[in-house]
């Protein structure tokens, strides 16, 4: 039972971070549910049909999803950022439909036989991703991302290639979502395309946004709360979408910038202070 909580909360934390990484460069992705599905299926095929070790399969699945992300993200980002949002919706819809039509992985019935995820896998994954993001937040890259998010035009006239930056972040987010999906599938043993619809993608985005994207700690908090509350409050599970939607709307309306502000002013001033001393 405890193991269930650790695994599901941990996986949702990584998923929320996968959205956060993409948001860092100023894009919104509704594709992460789709990337998660790619991760689940690619790694599943690798372990079940080819006997590849789980961790290796998860990495391979992550790379595959990242490559697909870069491939479909490029045309969208080359023109206008808002197109990426459209493409991400398309990714999720398409991945589900493609998987449903492939008999090799069981079509609509789904695909089974994946085993091997332990809570330690998930804990290690959360720790590693967290450390990576923490290092990022202390590096000059954070400022570049801030600049791209705030004003692409301005960033470009300073020598930053916004398309490159956004594309790498999108690819990285796809990678993380797919790795999370891999461990998820190998815990559940059986997955079906239905689990990875657009609603899942929207939920993942809401985890990240609900916790606040001011810094890298918001998304995990949002993910943990939203995963655990329905478990403990009876009856809430069936009202989840409505409750989620209304809470998000309320927060956006009360603090439109708060949820998407990235690094509060105080945190920012402190960050600089640290940099100056170093």
């Amino acid at each position: 039972m405890m193991q269930d909580y650790v695994v599901f909360v941990g996986i949702n934390i990584v998923l929320a971070w996968s959205v956060y990484v993409i948001l860092l460069a100023g894009s919104l992705s509704f594709a992460n549910g789709g990337f998660m599905a790619i991760g689940a299926y690619v790694s599943g095929v690798l372990t079940v049909k080819f006997g590849v070790p789980l961790v290796l399969a998860a990495l391979a699945a992550g790379v595959a999803a990242g490559a697909i992300g870069v491939l479909v993200g490029f045309p969208a980002l080359r023109t206008r950022g808002i197109y990426l949002m459209l493409v991400t919706v398309g990714v999720t819809v398409s991945v589900k439909a493609v998987i449903e039509s492939i008999d090799y992985v069981g079509g609509i019935q789904g695909f089974g036989g994946m085993v091997g995820t332990t809570q330690w896998h998930v804990v290690a994954l959360v720790a590693m991703v967290g450390c990576g993001l923490w290092a990022l937040s202390k590096s000059p890259l954070q400022r570049i991302l801030d600049a791209v998010r705030e004003d692409e035009l301005s960033a470009a006239s300073l020598g930053i290639n916004p398309v490159h930056v956004k594309l790498v972040c999108f690819g990285a987010g796809a990678f993380l979502a797919a790795v999370a999906g891999s461990f998820y599938a190998h815990y559940l043993i059986h997955v079906a395309p239905d689990q990875f619809g657009i609603v899942l993608s929207v939920f993942i985005v809401l985890y990240a946004v609900l916790g606040g994207t001011n810094n890298l700690w918001g998304p995990p908090i949002g993910a943990a709360i939203m995963t655990l509350i329905p478990e403990f409050v009876r009856g809430l599970e069936s009202w989840r979408p409505t409750a989620f939607g209304i809470i998000i709307l309320g927060l956006l309306l009360i603090r439109p910038d708060g949820l998407l502000a990235f690094r509060s002013i105080t945190a920012r001033a402190r960050g600089i202070f640290v940099t100056k001393r170093a």
């Binding site: 000059p140 570049i144 801030d146 600049a147 004003d151 301005s154 006239s157 930053i160 600089i272």
Partner: protein, 255 residues
């Protein structure tokens, strides 16, 4: 070829129109190494569009741009910035929700051109010293930790120039840097621009303030309705009849 004789920027027959409105009608000019070139003309003459096309913000509809002897006509703005063409905007474009220091740090060349390297290569100082030195020079050092969006108008203008210089450019475009400044601020600004001139090879400055332009520029180009109508040393150009007429023909040229 003699490097010194080669102009840093050579623009030939540059054209640009927006849905039927012709903003640039075959503009040709050269920017020489070591000079401050003044660009004047009534509002709507196409000066900002000229800068926007040169710096890759808008694609041109025709003509050629050569920078340091190299054809850069269709290059995107970030490539031009990396090659050493920097700019400020007529309506200031700072990263308002970032601090003053961060605005300059972002533009530090190594980071801007290879953003993901900084994750793996440890360079802890991150150019803070260089950035602070620049801020010092532009009298902004005490405001380093303020958010750029909270700066006064004149300070924001200065920060934009400092930021443009952080990438160590060779050619700097300033689009109405003194707009909205009072006389004293304008004089201070002229002094900073002269100092900046030591850091770059050439400056192109768009300004309406005749006195300032006369004092600053080595040469002057005047534009009207998308065309170059005069070019030469400031004293001569400013008395040319067609230049006077271009300015008198429109009102509000001084605001």
């Amino acid at each position: 070829m003699d490097m010194a004789a080669q102009p840093i920027l050579a623009v030939d027959g540059l054209r640009k129109s927006f849905r039927g409105l012709t903003a640039l009608e075959s503009v040709s000019l050269e920017v020489r190494r070591g000079e401050i070139l003044g660009l004047m003309g009534p509002n709507g003459a196409g000066k900002s569009v000229f800068i926007n096309v040169i710096t890759g913000l808008y694609p041109s509809d025709g003509g050629a741009i050569r920078y340091c002897g190299r054809d850069v006509t269709a290059l995107p703005s970030y490539v031009l910035a990396r090659l050493g063409i920097a700019r400020t905007y007529q309506n200031i474009r700072l990263l308002r929700r970032m601090t003053v220091l961060e605005n300059v740090l972002v533009a530090i060349k190594d980071h801007a051109s290879q953003p993901f390297r900084s994750l793996f290569v440890r360079n802890r100082s991150g150019g803070v010293a260089a950035a602070m030195a620049l801020l010092e020079q532009f009298h902004l050092a005490d405001k380093a930790d303020r958010l750029a969006g909270t700066l006064a108008y004149g300070e924001a203008r200065r920060l934009e120039i400092a930021r443009a210089l952080a990438g160590k450019p060779s050619l700097l475009f300033l689009d109405e840097p003194a707009a909205g400044m009072n006389e004293r601020e304008t004089e201070e600004l002229a002094a900073t621009i002269r100092t900046s001139h030591r850091l770059v090879e050439a400056i192109v400055i768009v300004e309406h303030d005749v006195a300032m332009m006369r004092g600053l520029s080595d040469r002057l180009v005047v534009m009207d309705s998308g065309r170059k109508i005069a070019e030469g040393n400031p004293a001569d150009v400013l008395t040319q009849p067609n230049v006077v007429e271009a300015y008198l023909g429109t009102d509000g040229a001084d605001d």
